[in-house]
């Protein structure tokens, strides 16, 4: 039988897992309507926040915003104009594995994301499937994103077989604030699925480096 202290600890871990799930779902719905600025507020205040995307990795708040310009309709009105022409970003999250550290200071989570997008400039629809790995911090009474890495699976035109079309190389366009790239999986008939894209989290007591993020 649990003591009252153990029950309260269990309650805090369960509540944290629910809040983290909601935080990630919130990103999905805000991304739908390009409220990327609001998304930034879901991040920790720390300057070691890490955003690892298919087109490049960034550290810190300034670089995070520079590296995601086209969703920022406030600072980039040209892109805002473009948003009117059929842009749509739907990145659902499924298959959660959420582990809250026993010390309640950090959490880890992975999700699958069967997504689809409307590409405004091309007037076309695409599938955009990926996987997410997150680390979170409990900061000022709220759970905040600390690190996020996206593992693309495929991004193909609706009428193209995702098994036959190579994943787009998104690393060619240099953007302000990008620091480095990570190699990511591209499906091919001779390719073996990578071991750790992503590695599902296991129960842990307190944060240590080395899980899913190249900078640790």
């Amino acid at each position: 039988m649990m003591t009252y202290e153990e029950m309260y600890h269990a309650y805090q871990k369960l509540e944290a897992a629910d809040q983290i799930r909601n935080l990630v779902s919130n990103y999905c719905f805000e991304h739908n309507c390009a409220l990327q600025m609001r998304y930034y507020r879901n991040w920790s205040k720390r300057e070691d926040i890490r955003h690892e995307m298919p087109w490049g990795n960034t550290t810190g708040h300034r670089n995070l915003e520079y590296n995601n310009p086209w969703h920022d309709v406030v600072r980039h009105p040209d892109d805002a104009e473009n948003m009117k022409g059929g842009a749509m970003f739907i990145h659902s999250t499924t298959t959660p594995v959420i582990e809250v550290a026993d010390d309640l200071k950090t959490a880890r989570a992975v999700f699958l994301s069967p997504g689809f997008e409307g590409i405004a400039a091309k007037k076309m629809g695409t599938w955009a499937n990926s996987k997410y790995a997150y680390e979170f911090l409990f900061e000022d009474g709220e759970w905040k994103v600390w690190k996020c890495r996206i593992f693309p699976v495929f991004r193909n035109d609706y009428f193209d077989d995702f098994g036959a079309v190579a994943e787009e190389d998104m690393t060619k366009k240099k953007r302000v604030g990008m620091e480095d790239f990570h190699d990511f999986f591209r499906y091919g008939p001779d390719v073996i699925m990578p071991r750790n894209e992503p590695d599902p989290p296991r129960p842990y007591d307190t944060w240590e480096p080395g899980w899913n993020f190249g900078t640790d």
């Binding site: 269990a10 959660p96 699925m193």
Partner: protein, 241 residues
């Protein structure tokens, strides 16, 4: 107020709607023992959902030894795949390590089989019910999954949608998958309608199944969707076959 007024456990679990037993509590007070069990059950539901999710990521990555480690390995383990049924303590080892291929398999010929194999079974729409006694649990997921395989030297994408039903059991090593069943809706090449594709099942070349798969629903224009295949988990007090 007398704890006898606490009606949470007075109503029979079988046949109750989800949450019904706990949504109409005349006396919200609990003994420490009752509260402890409720926290254990809530925690167990989260652990079981993580087990199902972990299965998906590890299976995708061909980390089959770790997939097998998610299972209870009891004499009553059962794994029902669309191509056959595995039973017993070595069911998971035979299904995932012997008939499929682990990413660390030392045999180069077997390792070669992993090329071009991409299987991503999403886990959506979870229903997880932990027994009132906190010793077992039942879960059910929809899985809008996708696969890609090598075909004549090229990649071929597939839609592979199914349901996953899992029973879980609390062991000395924690919660483990006990019974595992996959029910296919359809499996069709990316550019073909599932309504116009013949029945298709991906099965390993090596099979050490104990018995053939039971007859199951698979979409065809004439197939009638079955009631409760599998049974939708409902609140229950203790495991019964």
């Amino acid at each position: 107020m007398n704890m006898q007024d606490n009606n949470a456990y007075d109503k029979p679990a079988e046949g109750a709607a989800p949450g019904e037993r706990f949504n109409h509590i005349e006396n919200p007070k609990r003994t420490q023992e009752e509260m402890s069990l409720e926290f254990e059950r809530l925690t167990a539901a989260k652990i079981c959902e993580n087990l199902a999710g972990s299965f998906s990521y590890l299976f995708s990555a061909n980390r089959m030894q770790e997939v097998s480690d998610l299972f209870a390995h009891t004499d009553t383990d059962r794994i029902t795949m669309p191509y056959g049924v595995y039973k017993g303590a070595d069911a998971a080892d035979r299904c995932f390590l012997r008939d499929m291929v682990d990413i660390d398999d030392p045999d180069p010929a077997r390792h070669e089989e992993l090329k071009g194999r991409m299987i991503i079974p999403d886990m959506c729409t979870p229903i997880v019910e932990v027994a009132g006694d906190g010793k077992t649990a039942k879960g059910l997921w929809n899985s809008p999954g996708l696969e890609a395989h090598s075909k004549d030297g090229a990649g071929q994408g597939w839609w592979n949608w199914s349901k996953f039903a899992m029973d879980f059991i609390l062991t000395e090593q924690g919660w483990k998958i006990w019974h595992f069943s996959r029910y296919l809706y359809f499996s069709t090449e990316y550019l073909k309608s599932w309504a116009k594709s013949p029945k298709h099942i991906f099965a390993p070349a090596r099979l050490t199944i104990d018995e053939p798969a039971p007859e199951q629903y698979y979409y065809t224009p004439d197939a009638v969707y079955p009631d409760e295949e599998p049974a939708i988990p409902a609140p229950y007090d203790t495991w019964t076959e």
